[in-house]
Subunit: 278 residues, 4 copies
C-alpha cells in the first residue's frame, strides 16, 4: 500500500495540531510528512499529513470528525490511485509532455483518456496507448457538445480533468459538476494583454519575459485559484512566433508541475487562493 | 580614453553593415564589439559598435553621415562619461542599492544628485556623499513643484534621470523635455492588478511570482518601452507585507540592471519596443 | 513582544508532534507557524514552531523536556533579538548590501560591529553608523591576530558571525568556539575549479552559469553545511572580470538570503546537511 | 529555400566585418541576422551570418576565401537540413523529450535513428516512428561494439550525434571520427561530486540546487566545451530519488536547448570554450 494523505481544512482554533496528531498517534499510524498553515488573513487552518500504517483508515476519519470542530473539512486520499482525463484541442506540447511523463512513471495517476474536439492529436495518444475520444464541436450546439463529453467522463469517472490547451470555454454547468477538479494552463504576460493574439501584442510591446499560469477552472474565465507560475526570458531577437514557442515551453513546464502537485494532493483551495505544500 | 560606442538606427537596406564598417576601417579604428539587429516587423536596422582607436571621432561621424541614408540616426558616446540624477520619494531600497553600487564602481556614470519630494532619504545620500535636494510637493501646485525640480536638473545637466521609486506622476511637459532619457521601475504581477494596493491584491489572489519592470517613461503611465524584467517566486506563506518585501528585492535588481544597460549604451528604442544588446 | 521560535531536534518516534503540541496547547500559547520534517535517511525529527502568547516560556521548555525523549535538543529564540558581527576584508559588495538592508530594517538583528583585517571598508561602515574594528594581520602571527579579534567578539557577544568576503582562513580553534554560529559566502561553479583564480578558470572553460553558496563554517574549508545557493547566467561575452562582477552579484544575493534565514531561526543543522524551513 | 548560415572563424584583424559584408553585398544577398565576437583573450574573431537570397552560394564561399586571411575557417549550412542520430541507454526522459519535440516540429533536423545498447527504449522510438537500432554491448569487446555502431552511423551519415543519457564511455577512436559533432548531457552539482552515485552524495551534502551541463564530447571525459547549463532548486524534503528526478527534469531542458543551438548553427568552438550566439 502506498502512503495515505489526510487533508484537513478548518477555522483556526488553539490545539488543532495537537488534536489531529493525537488521533493519528492513537491509531498507531506513522506520520512521514506533516505540513500545516494558518492563513492569518482568514484565520483558517489547513493541514496535510502523509502517513503510513496498517490501521483502518475509516476509524481515523471517524475519530477525527469527533475530535475536530463541526466545520472541519476532512478528506483522505491514497497517492498513486488517482485518475484523470486530459482534454486538448490541436496543440501537442502540453499533452505530449504529460503523456511522456505518464509513460515513464512520473505522473502518479492513471490517465483514463484524452478527449479532444479535433482529431489531430489522435496519433500522439495512440503512441502512448491512451484511449482518444474525438468529440467534434462542429454542427452541434455547445450544450450538445458538452453532453457528449460528459457522457464519456461519466463512464470514466476521473478524479481530475486536465485542460492541456483545450481551446473551448466550458459552460458554468460543466464547471460546476467538477468543482475544484478541473485545472487549466494559460499564458501570462507582464503586463497583461487583453484581446486576441497576446503573443503578437507581447512582441509589439517588447516584453522581456514570457510566463504561464496553471489554475483551477471556475466560472470566472482564467481567474480561478493559481496553482503554479513560471516565466522564461525572451528578448528583441524573438519574433512573435518564437515568443509563442517560448510560451509553449513554459506552459508545458508549469502544467506538468501543477498536475504533479494536484495528484500528490499538495493543494488546498482557500477562497480564490491556493495553499500549495511543495 | 575609454571605449567609444556608436549607435546607428536606420531603415534597413542592403549593405548597411558593409558601409558602416568600411568607414570605421578607413579611419583605422578597431571594433571590439559589434551588434546589429534588423527588426523584420518594421524593416528597421540598429547597430551598436564599440571601438577603440586614436582617430578623430568627428571625422567618423561625418563620413558615416555621408555613407548612410539620410534617415539614419547616428550618435556616439564615451562609456563611463555619462551623468545621471536619481529621483526618489520615501523607499530606500532602490536608491540605496544604486548608491552602493555607485560607491564601489559598478555604475559607469557620475551620480550628480538625488532629488526627493521627502526628506527621509537625505541621510542615505549623505552616507554616500551624494548631494540631496529636498523639493517638497506640499503647498505648491504640480507645475511649481516640477519647475523647482527642473531648475535643479537644468543646473546639473544629467544625461539620464532615474526614478528610483519616485512616487509622483510627472507631467507630459516634464517627460517631453527628456525624451528617452527617464527610466522608471514598476512592480509587475501575473495577472496584472489595477487600482490601489496591488501587493494586497496579489496576496488575495495567491500569486506564485512577483515581478518588476524597468521601462522608459512616456506620457502613457507605466506603458513606456520595457528595458528589463524579472520575477521572484513567492508562496502562500508570504503575507501581503512579505510580498511587498519580495517586490522590493526584485525592483532593486531590475532597476540596477536597467541602469547599467542604459549607461553602457546598450538600448535602442524602437516605437514602443526596446532592442537591448546585452 | 515579537514572536517566539521553538527549535526541536530529536530522534524520530511516533507521537512527537502530538506531545509537543500538547505542551504548547496546555500553556495556552498560539501556534502561528509550525513546520516539521523527518529525515528518513537518519530517522531524525526536527520541528520549528513559531508562537505567540503571554505564558512563561520557561515553563514551556521545562514541560517539553519532560515530555520528550532525553536525546531531544530543544531551544527557543525571540525573533528580532539576535545580534551579529560581520567580518570582511576588502570587497564591499556583501558588506554594503547587508548594511544597507540593516539600515532599512530588513535584517532582523542588531549588527554589533564590522571587523576587518584591512581599513578600506571603514568609510562604508561609518556611513551606516556601525562600529568598525580594524585588526591588521600584518606583523602578527595567526594566533595573535585571531586573539585580538576574539577579544572584540568577546566584548560584543554576538549570536552569529557573518563572513562577508573575509579572506583569511579561520583556525580550528576559532571555529570551534562558535560551532554552527559562523556563516560564509563562497563562489561556486559547474564544474568546480580548484586552485587560484577560479573566475579566470571559469572564463577559460566557458561556463554558462556562475554561482554562490552560503554555508556554515566548519574545520573543513568551504565544506560546511549549505544554507543557500543560487546562480546567474553568463555567456561568452563576459570577460573574466565581468564574470567576477556577476559572481559578486550572486554572492550578495545568496549571503543576504542566508543571513535572513539564520536570524529568523529557520535552519537546522543535521550532520553535514541543513534543513531550511523557508 | 530556408535561410543559409555562414560560420567564419579567423584570427582577428582590422576590417574583417567590412570584408565579409562586402562579399555578401556584392552577391546581392540579404543579411537577416549577423553576430560577431572577438575573443580578446585569444584575439580570435568569429561571425555567424544568416542570409537569404538567390545567388549561387558557392560563389560566395569562393570570394570569401579570396577576401579573408588564409587561416580563416569558413563554412556554410542550410538551417533545417541537418540530420542527427540519438544514442541512449535505459533512461527515457531525454530521448522522449527530443522525440516529442521532433514530432511537433521544434527540432530543425531529421532524426535518422536511435541507437541503444539496451532494448528498453524501442517502444518509445516506435511510438514516434523513428528507427531503433539495438546494439548490445554484452558478450562483445568495446571495439567490436563500437564497430557495430559505427557501421550503422556510416550508413546514416548524420551531421551530429546526440548522447541522450548514453551510459557507455566512447573510445578516443570513436570520438575522433566525429570531432565537434557529438554532444552529451551531464548532471552538474555545486560542489562537484566525484565517484559513484552523485545524487546520493548531493543528497547527503544537502545541496540546494541541481544542475545539468550539455557539452561537446572530447577525449577528456565530461570536460569538453560547454554549450548550455541550467539548475533547478531543491531542498531538504527531496530524497536522493527525488533529487534524481529533478536532475532528469533539468537534463531534459538543457539537452533540448543545446540540440536546438547546435542545429541552428549557433555554436562556435574555441579551444575549450564555446561562443554561443543565442
Amino acid at each position: 500500500m502506498g502512503s495515505q494523505v489526510l487533508h484537513i481544512d478548518c477555522p483556526d482554533e488553539k490545539g488543532l495540531v495537537y488534536k489531529i496528531t493525537e488521533v493519528i498517534y492513537d491509531h498507531g499510524l506513522n506520520i512521514i510528512n506533516n505540513q500545516e498553515f494558518v492563513d492569518s488573513s482568514t484565520q483558517h487552518f489547513v493541514m496535510r499529513t502523509e502517513f503510513e500504517g496498517s490501521e483502518t483508515p475509516n476509524g481515523v476519519l471517524e475519530d477525527l470528525e469527533k475530535a475536530l470542530p463541526e466545520a472541519a473539512n476532512i478528506r483522505k486520499a491514497e497517492i498513486g490511485k488517482r485518475s484523470m482525463v486530459i482534454m486538448a484541442t490541436k496543440e501537442p506540447h502540453c499533452l505530449g509532455d504529460l503523456l511522456l511523463q505518464y509513460r515513464y512513471g512520473e505522473i502518479p495517476a492513471r490517465v483514463e483518456a484524452v478527449i479532444s474536439n479535433h482529431n489531430g492529436l489522435k496519433s500522439l495518444a495512440d503512441a502512448f496507448d491512451v484511449p482518444y475520444h474525438y468529440v467534434s464541436h462542429q454542427n452541434v450546439d455547445r450544450t450538445a457538445h458538452e453532453k457528449e463529453i460528459l457522457d464519456i467522463i461519466g463512464q470514466l469517472k476521473p478524479d481530475y480533468i486536465v485542460l492541456a490547451k483545450y481551446m473551448r470555454i466550458l459552460t458554468p454547468e460543466f464547471v460546476s459538476r467538477f468543482k475544484n477538479r478541473i485545472i487549466n494552463i494559460h499564458h501570462s504576460f507582464l503586463p497583461a494583454f487583453v484581446g486576441a493574439n497576446p503573443y503578437k501584442q507581447a512582441f509589439e510591446r517588447g516584453v522581456k519575459i514570457i510566463g504561464a499560469t496553471a489554475h483551477f477552472v471556475t466560472d470566472d474565465l482564467d481567474q480561478g485559484p493559481i496553482i503554479a507560475q513560471d516565466v522564461l526570458p525572451v528578448n528583441h531577437t524573438f519574433t512573435a512566433e518564437q515568443m509563442t514557442k517560448a510560451g509553449r515551453d513554459v506552459e508545458k513546464l508549469v502544467l506538468a508541475k501543477a498536475v504533479k502537485l494536484l495528484l500528490e494532493e499538495r493543494i488546498f483551495i482557500h477562497g480564490n487562493r491556493t495553499i500549495v505544500f511543495e
